[in-house]
């Protein structure tokens, strides 16, 4: 790819850079939560952004595209889950272990929090879990979650209310156990 001046054209696509920079962590977390095996999550992340970049022209709401990315993540993860159904998924929890170490105390607190939240999410009804993750973990608004999940806004509010209540109860139980 040579330009007329002889300089090599850059292959970097600005929109791809922008998308990836803003949403890479979100996509990674989403795919991990949707159960994509850790051994395939890198490919999954790349697939999500390849699809998103390719379909970007058809997407008008550029201000907040996490809701749109969620729908891509869910489908990509479902595809990988299907293709990997027979494979061992022992590495599923490796996301936390794969991070760079920070200071030990903070690392311990983060691992503890991550395990606690994951345990809570595992015990939550799937429909409520999806809403809780998008709104309270990822910070989407209720209308954005409604759009991403294809459900009514009132349903989002209802599920979120229940999930939050259960989460607060779980925190109280956790504190009680810590004091023992």
């Amino acid at each position: 790819m040579e330009s007329s001046s002889g300089e090599r054209d850059s292959l970097t696509d600005p929109e791809l850079v922008e998308l990836y920079t803003a949403h890479a962590d979100f996509v990674w977390r989403s795919l991990a939560r949707y159960g994509i095996p850790m051994s395939l999550i890198d490919d999954g992340v790349q697939d999500v952004f390849l699809i998103a970049r390719r379909k970007l022209a058809t997407y008008d709401e550029r201000g907040r595209c996490t809701a749109w990315l969620v729908s891509i993540c869910r489908r990509v993860a479902a595809g990988y889950r299907r293709s990997q159904a027979r494979r061992d998924e022992r590495e599923r929890d490796a996301a936390v272990l794969g991070r760079e170490p920070v200071d030990p105390e903070r690392e311990l607190a983060m691992r503890d929090a991550a395990a606690f939240v994951q345990s809570f999410l595992d015990g939550l009804e799937p429909a409520r879990r999806d809403v809780f993750i998008l709104c309270d973990v990822e910070g989407l608004s209720a209308p954005e979650a409604s759009q991403a999940l294809g459900i009514k806004l009132n349903t989002v509010y209802s599920r979120l209310r229940h999930a939050r209540k259960r989460f607060e109860m779980a925190i109280v139980r956790r504190e009680r156990e810590k004091r023992r």
Partner: protein, 255 residues
């Protein structure tokens, strides 16, 4: 609506950080993503998406698609010639026109001048998701360019497309970078460096040379080879001041 307590928000924030993508994989993934995007590779798990663009209904889009199909059919009927008929037919009983050359499935190494050594056991597991074409008869696999997976939904690849992929040196570049990424992710940073070095030897001015340097800086950073990081970073920023990678390069091992 009951709002989450401060403690709940704090726990959730910690969870978010703890489950985020590791920095070295973030960079390696972008290098690989960029390479795949550059060669127009299809996602391994392609998906159909609900249309979420504002103001365009599904009915409108379906109508537009049908209209385009009808117009295309009409145009095709008007202008179709034997060449088109041959392409659309099975080809078994139709004489091929002169202007269509047969597409050779064998690409001798000397023709394109690039080759990628066969993956070894350090990165082999990561190559598994990529279905690769069998090498042509008489050609060793290690001398065959293995293009990035282009998945055709119909399962019938156009021979012309397949041939152009095979001769594209960029595909060989991408293959090497992917394997370097896989080696890194599999805990073989030294092997990743070897593959990146190999890439530099074969494609010193390759189209993925910037992505290669970013990947190499990340590996060196993770190995704690900070002097090399500093040296290479300085050279990269001097040589590619306007690069889209510059900001990311400046942050590698900067903390």
């Amino acid at each position: 609506m009951n709002e989450p307590s401060d403690e709940a928000l704090s726990i959730l924030a910690q969870h978010r950080v703890a489950t985020s993508m590791p920095a070295h994989r973030r960079e390696a993934n972008f290098a690989c993503l960029e390479a795949r995007f550059a060669v127009g590779e299809s996602p391994a798990m392609d998906v159909s998406l609900p249309v979420m663009s504002a103001g365009i209904s599904t009915a409108t889009i379906v109508t537009a698609v049908i209209a385009v199909a009808v117009v295309s059919l009409a145009v095709w009927a008007l202008v179709s010639e034997p060449t088109v008929s041959w392409r659309l037919s099975s080809g078994a009983d139709v004489e091929r026109p002169e202007n269509l050359e047969p597409v050779s499935e064998t690409v001798p190494e000397s023709q394109h001048g690039v080759s990628v050594p066969a993956p070894d056991e350090t990165d082999e597991p990561w190559v598994a998701p990529m279905p690769l074409a069998s090498p042509p008869p008489g050609v060793e696999e290690s001398h065959t360019i293995r293009p990035p997976a282009r998945r055709h939904r119909t399962g019938k690849a156009s021979p012309t497309v397949a041939a152009s992929d095979e001769v594209d040196p960029l595909a060989a570049e991408v293959e090497l970078l992917k394997r370097a990424q896989l080696a890194t992710a599999n805990g073989h940073p030294e092997r990743a460096l070897e593959l990146l070095e190999l890439h530099e030897q074969r494609f010193p001015q390759g189209r993925m040379s910037e992505a290669r340097e970013v990947a190499r800086l990340m590996v060196l950073c993770n190995l704690g080879r900070l002097d090399e990081v500093e040296h290479r970073r300085g050279r990269f920023l001097a040589d590619h001041a306007g690069s889209a990678h510059a900001q990311r390069v400046a942050r590698i091992c900067a903390d």
